[in-house]
Assembly symmetry: C2
Homo-oligomer: 472 residues x 2
């Protein structure tokens, strides 16, 4: 440990069990690991020096950002206890370039902290998910995180113009020029993103920023049926020139469960919608923010004018339009209460699946009886515009939670999803939770390619033991 | 050759020198290569069988799409003559899904053919560059091609949701589900894109489509100075909610050269602009296409209303607004005449550089005397919104073209660009033309990583000999 203390200072090498504990259990409590030490570097150079020292000492490294992984990817897997490398001290916003609309940051910057800082420049970093107050940029990039705004702004990888990283060799690759275009060889940036800390340690990034909208308009609409969703989304996109920021699915059962959990939250529609959608538009156009002849902001009128003919066509059967900022925020409170509602039901499993957009309705139809047969109640929510459904199940009323039955249900649901060309990890990544699933289900040629890349770039398997690749 | 003929049919194995000739010289005439045979597979299975047979016969493979590479990447490099694998027969549009707004295509589909087919669905594949009438999807993806619309819709890689490819092992990886989100392991799609056919042979792809705009508005504006460009672009983006489709830089010297070459083309402004910008907006919004109180389409009025205050602020000093479709097309004729104007000047070299947006003016200022000292006249054009400048030079009037001087100038310009964090290949790739530059200039850690990946995935160096990696 002497060597590590020389690099980061003795205060930043934790070896006492109590000191290490917060770093060795993830936020769900389900994933724990062992470590010889938790080290907290304060610079890229220190990360590079730690990597060399860890190789020398033959200690595997697990990179930990905000420890908010929903796949157990932030705590070390089984095997020889090594180092947990906490990125939290690498939390400097290096530069915000208002003209180029980019931010250059340390990997340990918390997403919300960046959003607060860019807001002062009239800019936003549009990666929006529940854990943004804790999750860090580096973790979001390493797992290619998603969220509610992917529809418009893309996943984490789409928001990243450049990466600085320390390779398993201890070398630092500096890709922080922030170029919009660079076709000089293999794209190591995109390889590191989504590699979950198994090929390199992301220490810095250049991120795209977008102008803060001048106006937002939100509505909660009831679709006639799931199959109407794509028509409605496309109509909204065309009518608004691509201003749809969110298209979040909240089915009747989920809204009812939220209201049972927290009666203070209001259902937006009097008759709970079988297929409810929270739609949000956002625009930077001054003319969209201006009040029009109807007395509403133009963007509101545009939303209404787009939805009216969809109601006439029978695709939408009911709608609530937020006419104040408070009403808009209330819709989002409903959306953001989903997770706590599920957690309050007791044991649950949440599958993060994605599907080709056109296959979503059919897969949901076939999944319902699978859940019922297993004595499970689905509590679903979805980033429907991306074909991404968070398929959570809790014990159905009067049923007990049987882990074996749940595992079997999960397998059958995953079978169903993959049969329709879907993914068993849309935005949460693999981590430790799905490493065995990946080993079993990934196309063998692709898995072999992944293993070949891992062996080529990290021959000693220094990084991310137990993460992504199955330990068995 | 017997084995290959069994796979693709005897008519699709060319060994006669005259038959092979069109495949062994690129469109510029500058790059030539040798081959034992040109083979033309008609299906993914045939590609896979050819790869196995070529391995068996120890014949390297060069993949050739539309043979429009501007970096010599479409014809084989030095070494043992092998196979040129022409993708032209793999030209089936497999499916256009209007609801999901995706197209699934063979890699050999010509870009313009796809655009024609999607137009019938009211959709566009927004990859827009000069060679689109010949260039194929597979080549565009393998080189991560760019063009005039990258600003809004991204490079080729941003338009691709999935890839089918044959690996050097002969295995087929099928990633054609068209998922918007899939975080199951390393992103092989992004690794294959930009690998220029050196890691796998792209045989099919799922591509994003966008709705065809209802209205376009174009203008040619004269900036007060280069430094005003980002302010103008940002103002346009904010005022239009991100509708800027093109922001193309045409400096005075280039416009004058175009007009000298083809006097039928009109200069849009009476006083040729020192720093001219072709701006195009495009919108799918019906309200943008509707005529407003001024009698113009609303999008036209929006452009005017945005530019007026920029003129008052002195950022824009003159402007021409296309008020008819003919005027708009004339502006694009001017833009698209750049290449033929340069070619008409005799020998030229065109560097494809990109820069951090804020560094563009300074680098251009410093480059000018370098060109003058070398007896060269720059004829520039740029996708300025992406920081991408095509820096072409021809002999200055009264000067002779000296290849050695030009090489030295190219080196100095590349030094300058890299000193400012820029790239020596923004969108054209490396091919054979820049393989030595890559070997010399790429950060050693990144180059070593690229070589390790190449060795891991293509240990026999079957694919793309002489391309990307320097032969020396």
């Amino acid at each position: 440990m002497q060597k590590f203390a020389e690099i980061v200072g003795v205060a930043n090498v934790l070896t006492d069990a109590a000191d290490m504990a917060p770093y060795l259990t993830d936020w769900t409590g389900a994933w724990t690991g062992d470590a010889a030490a938790v080290v907290r570097p304060g610079s890229t150079d220190e990360v590079a020096a730690l990597v060399l020292a860890a190789r020398e000492a033959e200690l595997p490294i697990t990179v930990q950002s905000g420890n908010t992984s929903v796949a157990g990817g932030s705590v070390p897997g089984a095997g020889k206890p090594g180092l947990v490398l906490s990125m939290s001290r690498l939390n400097r916003i290096r530069e915000i370039d208002s003209a180029a609309r980019t931010a250059t940051v340390d990997a340990g910057v918390v997403i919300e902290a960046l959003q607060t800082a860019t807001a002062e420049h009239g800019l936003d970093f549009p990666l929006m998910f529940g854990a943004r107050g804790t999750a860090q940029i580096g973790g979001a990039l390493a797992t290619n995180a998603g969220g509610a705004n992917v529809l418009r702004h893309g996943n984490a990888r789409d928001l990243c113009l450049g990466i600085e990283a320390v390779l398993p060799s201890g070398e630092v690759v500096n890709g922080l020029s922030g170029l919009r275009k660079d076709n000089t060889g293999y794209d190591l940036r995109h390889l590191l993103m989504g590699s979950e800390g198994t090929l390199g340690i992301i220490t810095g990034a250049v991120l795209k920023l977008v102008p803060t909208p001048k106006i937002r308009a939100a509505a909660f609409v009831a679709l006639s049926e799931m199959d109407a969703a794509l028509d409605v989304l496309n109509a909204l996109q065309d009518a608004t020139g691509g201003l749809v920021e969110a298209f979040e699915w909240l089915p009747r059962e989920t809204v009812e469960a939220i209201r049972a959990h927290d009666p203070a939250l209001r259902a937006p529609l009097e008759d709970a919608a079988e297929t409810g959608i929270l739609v949000e538009l956002a625009s930077t156009r001054p003319d969209d923010a201006a009040t029009d002849e109807s007395g509403e902001a133009r963007l509101q009128s545009l939303m209404l004018a787009t939805i009216e003919p969809l109601m006439e066509r029978g695709l939408i059967v009911d709608g609530f339009f937020a006419t104040s900022e408070q009403q808009r925020l209330d819709l989002w409170r409903l959306r953001e209460a989903v997770l706590e509602t599920i957690v309050a039901h007791g044991p649950f499993v949440a599958l993060d699946v994605s599907l080709p957009l056109s296959a979503v309705p059919e897969v949901l139809r076939q999944a319902q009886p699978l859940a019922e047969e297993s004595g499970l109640k689905p509590l679903l929510v979805g980033h429907l515009g991306d074909g991404n459904i968070h398929y959570a199940v809790v014990a159905a009323p009067g049923q007990t939670w049987d882990p074996e039955t749940v595992r079997s249900f999960s397998d059958r649901l995953t079978d169903l999803v993959t049969a329709y060309g879907g993914s068993y990890s849309a935005e949460h990544g693999i981590g430790r939770a799905k490493a065995a699933t990946l080993a079993k289900r990934k196309d063998p040629a692709q898995l072999a390619t992944m293993r070949a890349i891992k062996a080529a770039l990290d021959p000693e398997s220094l990084l991310g033991r137990g993460i992504l690749f199955s330990e068995v």
